[in-house]
Amino acid sequence: MDPSYSLQALVSSAREGDQDAWDAIVERYLPLVCALVRRYRLSDADGDDVCQTVWLRLVEHLDGLREPEALPGWISTTTRNECLRLLAARKRMTPVDPMDSVALEGVAEDVATADLVAVEERQALREALAELPAGRRELLLMLLADPPIPYADISERLGIPVGSIGPTRARALDQLRNTRALRAVVSAGLEIGGEPR
């Protein structure tokens, strides 16, 4: 399914039982869920379980979602809550050493706000990339490839002269800054009282 498909359309198709639309939602937000889970330092198995619970809960929550725009926030909050819940549950199962000050805090510690903001910014960047026209998105992804793809190969694959790769990259990045996803992050930053970026 086209990565630029609107969230509204994906959610309403998924509500009608469309597995492809659901898979597209998974594709868009699973990196966010996994990135958040990683921050909580759960075991791999517990991380897998939390991740699965988040998606199962989204399946049951799909019809209760009033605004599709609220979905990213819901996913992020649910993931963090599930991580904290499981961390705390696992701690209970371990005998407590009274000398261990971490255990004495009782409930699991949340991840630093700055860390969460960074995770959400990276989600916005991926969504911004999805908003770009396919050709520009492909160019940026090729330029990001590791190991790097030689310009000659990029030129051949995308059918643009080597000399215009640099200028096209600059235009693609300008376009990226003007996507809905990135403008939303910048204006949210301004609202919170942050400096203009």
Partner: protein, 147 residues
Amino acid sequence: MTDWSDDDALMAALQEAMAETDAVTDRRRETARAAFAWRSVDAELMELLHDSALEAGAAVRGSDTARLLSFGRGALSVELEVDGDEVSGQVLPAQAATVTLQRSGAEDRTVAADGAGFFRFEGVTPGPARFVVTASERTLTTTWVTL
């Protein structure tokens, strides 16, 4: 705060963002997609009302290691005690009922709750689970929870 006005800085940020996509395992992608099969449009959901795991000081109570969960909708609620691989519970108000444990990738397990509403499952492994309670001709499903 990230500076996206510089082209190279923005490219570096994009690289980090795409690295998170590359870090997604096939296993997580598969289970996330498969979750859609659990969609049931008219299930009546019991919300999670209480989870002792989130109580402050839960870990310092020493020998008391069981986790208490409570779900409810309207007048009906179900209380669960998770102790190792044993889950015991009670349907409230106390009454006979059938309780089904549902897990992703496993057969449903159904037990009867006695006249006082008590029931028990043994050999419950960690992972997502939900409980379907049928009592007084009503069927209610708890929200998913990670055991």
